[in-house]
Symmetry: C2
Subunit: 189 residues, 2 copies
Amino acid sequence: MKEKLQHYISRYIQLDDSDFEHFYSLLQVDQFSKKEFLLEEGKISRNQFFILEGLVRTFYTDHNGNEKVIQFGIENWWVTDMDSFINQQVSMVTIQALEKTKVLSISKTKLDQAFLEIPKLERLFRIITEKSLVAQQRKSHFFMKASSKERYLGLIKAIPNFVQRVPQYMIASYLDITPEYLSDLRKKH
Amino acid sequence: MKEKLQHYISRYIQLDDSDFEHFYSLLQVDQFSKKEFLLEEGKISRNQFFILEGLVRTFYTDHNGNEKVIQFGIENWWVTDMDSFINQQVSMVTIQALEKTKVLSISKTKLDQAFLEIPKLERLFRIITEKSLVAQQRKSHFFMKASSKERYLGLIKAIPNFVQRVPQYMIASYLDITPEYLSDLRKKH
DNA sequence: CGTCTATTTGAATGTACTCAAAAGCGGTGG
DNA sequence: CCACCGCTTTTGAGTACATTCAAATAGACG
């Protein structure tokens, strides 16, 4: 738990034990059972979550009342609605556990405090944010570039075992196609 | 020039004059004439650019040889291909000036140096990166949510005067529709 | 003024959607 | 342990949105 975070951090910056302990003391361990919400649409995202184990999805509800998945989050990922978290505005999205999920969470207030008290964290979160940005851009470009069939094949190639942990209609939603059409694609290959 | 950057920075962090001068000394003023490239596909993005004046587009070339615009950049924006810049990998995109464009540029090496010598810059770039991430996400979500007609209307509403500075086929490309279909949309409203 | 580039028009086509219904699957209670 | 219920996936028909391709028209610039 502690070690998982420490190991994660060590991939990006060097943080001595006392700084790490200090940071860790600002975090809180939380558990969410299947279907529970980490964040709900219409509320403000007060926390950023580091996933220790489990699986979550982020989705919004469109004007027809359909839930559209925009991201999945797994072990060793930070998740939140950045727009809501940073600007402390009402969120347009919901984050929900798809499995029993254990996280470390930190509030906006405490994170801001952490930045002041442990300057090295600025670097860590700069790097994490850069990684997120790159991931987000790669996703966008792939979606623009690829046909829906290629998107599907790309996904099962990129994270094969992950597809089995998630119902197909959520995969379809993530790929931005209807479940019916995904079913078609699967049949034809 | 100097003042533009200073003013921009002051929106996010407080930086004393000596730190600012130090940072500024690592920057270089560059000018690109219309159609010139700030970055070319297949090369590594060595620099990050702060646009002082002018207009650029970022695009990639798809398998049919069509150029697909993924972003425009204007005054007071930092542009680069983050994926290529951060990981110093070959870039998949090209950045081109659409007008005579004046920028401040900083190399990866110098920016890394700057982070070590002026720790406050970590915070500045963390914040800038967060802003970019949020902008990128807003764009993605809007594109997922809205129909192509809504995307067009949204664009001309968001940045009306900007549409006139850019040929229509680039707008179409940015909206991820064909120029023919955009022409249709415009006719019908 | 002529040439090159950008935009519009139109017809044929394809990709993906909607809606309705059937089939499959998994968990729960009797 | 089986039967049923609810949820998920598949199937199919009809349709809409957006594309391709070719050609005509308009616009910009030297």
